[in-house]
């Protein structure tokens, strides 16, 4: 599960690595709410789905399709049969799982090894579009407004994800034991139902006879094949044809019996399964309550871009916003250290490009509360007229207010030279959706 829930635990990730990747924007951009976007992205963590965060897409407008068909159906519905650009829409995809993921095993998913496959399994792509009334596009005529659309794409590539905590391992052991116990009950009941079903037993007896007949006939056919020689060819061939015809008839009967047995067994299973509904619900609850805490070394790369399409005219499309994060660190049971190297670009000719490096310490104060202190150093800042070498410091508290909801409060001092001022206060409600399992704070 790993991946959805981890997206809410990134603030517990931790540092290391500092790879600075350069980004630049050369196209002209609208003087839109660049400050707002930067504010949203300013926490020292990569957004869990970069594309959605870059456009601040509302959670209710986000789809998480699980198959290629789901994607096509969702996009077709949202675009009114591919004829219009939706006003607000996001897609959050995990390509490995959308394309099947059939070969992945639980042990791989639960394991802590970093392999090419584990990286692919956690790779996430987010796509979003959002429309807005663009008065800047009107030029000198302030009364004229048009609808412009922004398009974003973001990638999240968790590389190292730590290993499962002992509590998580214990909980999953309980899930395994529960499942094994249930299987024992179900299969015993099914065996008993098979024995007590007269129809099933009659079919089994006939099948047993058929097996014997088929076995001897196919062996006889093989013998005839071996005995084939010039003198007796015609006679043997005739025998083989008769033999094959008999085998074919038996196979038809066999297929019919097997199909009847399948039908009977499916009906028996349905009754047995329903009779165990309380146990099944209890087992389901075990999964809903399962923690997904991972501790140890973690590392993630994330990046995204936004393209602005003024007047929804794609010939005028221009790159507007870009960001890249390298997040890594070490997390223990109740304490985490996070480091981030980050570049955000949002402005005309790249004049709002900033490069930061920072760190964060997170501590679990109680079962529901975690606090963190973060500091970021802006060593390159292309904000017009802004100061270089400035600091941002913040305190953040996350309080679990529900099963998968948390309230986050952030305050502190922002970088100097920001439009929004230097006092930083932010209250956020973080909602876990797409999964009933709790946010791990």
């Amino acid at each position: 599960m790993i991946t959805h829930k981890e997206s809410f635990t990134k603030f517990r990730l931790v540092p290391l690595i500092v790879l600075v990747v350069m980004l630049s924007i050369t196209d002209e951009l609208p003087a839109q709410d660049a400050g707002k976007v930067e504010e949203q992205l300013n926490l020292l963590v990569a957004p869990s789905s970069v594309g959605l965060s870059l456009l601040d897409v509302d959670a209710s407008s986000v789809s998480r399709p699980q198959t290629p068909t789901d994607i096509i159906v969702t996009v077709r519905n949202k675009t009114n049969e591919f004829t219009e650009i939706p006003s607000e829409f996001g897609l959050d995809l995990q390509p490995y799982w959308v394309l099947g993921g059939g070969g992945a095993t639980y042990e791989e998913l639960a394991g802590d090894e970093v392999t090419f496959r584990s990286i692919l399994q956690n790779f996430r792509v987010s796509l979003a579009t959002k429309s807005r009334i663009d008065s800047s596009f009107a030029g000198t005529d302030s009364l004229l407004t048009v609808t412009s659309s922004d398009f974003a794409i973001g990638l999240n590539l968790p590389i190292a994800r730590g290993k499962r905590s002992s509590e998580t391992i214990e909980h999953f052991k309980a899930i395994k034991d529960g499942l094994k116990g249930l299987n024992r009950i179900l299969r015993t009941k099914l065996d008993s139902a098979r024995k007590n079903s007269e129809s099933y037993q009659i079919l089994s007896l006939r099948l047993d006879t058929l097996e014997g007949e088929l076995s001897s006939l196919t062996d006889a056919g093989d013998d005839l094949q071996k005995q084939l020689d010039a003198q007796t060819a015609a006679q043997k061939m005739a025998e083989m044809i008769l033999n094959d015809a008999r085998i074919a008839a038996l196979k038809i009967e066999k297929a019919a019996i097997l199909a009847q047995q399948e039908k009977l067994e499916a009906e028996m299973k349905d009754v047995i399964f329903k009779s165990q509904s309380a146990e099944l619900e209890a087992q389901k609850k075990l999964v809903a309550d399962a923690p997904n805490e991972r501790i140890g070394f973690k590392l993630e790369l994330a990046g995204g871009i936004v393209t602005d399409v003024p007047g929804q005219d794609f010939d005028k499309a221009r790159l507007r916003t870009a960001g890249i994060w390298v997040t890594g660190g070490y997390e223990s049971k109740s304490l985490g250290f996070l480091g981030v190297a980050r570049s955000l670009a949002d402005g005309k000719n790249g004049d709002r490009t900033s490069w930061d490096i920072g760190g964060r310490i997170v501590a679990d104060v109680g079962p529901q509360l975690s606090c963190s202190i973060e500091a970021a150093y802006r060593f390159i800042n292309m904000y017009a007229g802004a100061n270089m070498n400035t600091w941002r410091t913040a305190f953040r508290a996350d309080y679990l207010v529900g099963k998968n909801k948390s309230l986050a409060v952030t305050f502190g001092r922002d970088f100097e030279g920001k439009k929004s001022g230097t006092l930083l206060t932010l209250v956020q409600l973080v909602l876990g959706f797409g999964s009933a399992r709790p946010i791990d704070s």
Binding site: T3, H4, G101, I175, L179, L190, L207, E211, K285
Partner: protein, 116 residues
């Protein structure tokens, strides 16, 4: 979406017959296997390989597999069990799949193989 199968397999008399069972999609599952009246496997593992013995000793015997798969993978609601036999006359490989409505749901797969 089939979760119940009955199959008949012709096995080679002189060859070792082997069953490989795989629970896919990163889901958690447990499997029990009976050969005739004997329980030969009861494990909670995604990949199980069982040596069933020489084909001639398996003829007219029945192998019953019961697998419970629980959706614990938040990235997908798909579940699957794949069965593969070595030692049969014709190559045999079959995958059963079912997509559940919500996380935590359990799918019960059963497969019965009659050897001849």
């Amino acid at each position: 979406m089939e979760t119940t199968i009955h199959r008949m397999l012709r096995v080679k008399a002189k060859e070792e017959v082997e069953l490989k069972l795989t629970i896919g999609n990163g889901q958690l599952g447990t499997t029990s296997v009976h050969l005739g009246a004997d329980l030969i496997c009861d494990e909670t593992k995604s990949r199980i390989t069982l040596s069933l013995g020489k084909g001639k000793n398996l003829r007219r015997k029945q192998l019953r597999c019961s697998t419970l798969v629980q959706d614990i993978n938040a990235s997908t609601n798909k579940t699957s069990v794949a069965y593969r036999f070595n030692g049969s006359y014709m190559p045999y490989e079959e995958k059963l799949t079912k997509t559940v409505a919500e996380e935590g749901e359990i799918v019960w797969y059963t497969a019965t193989f009659n050897f001849y």
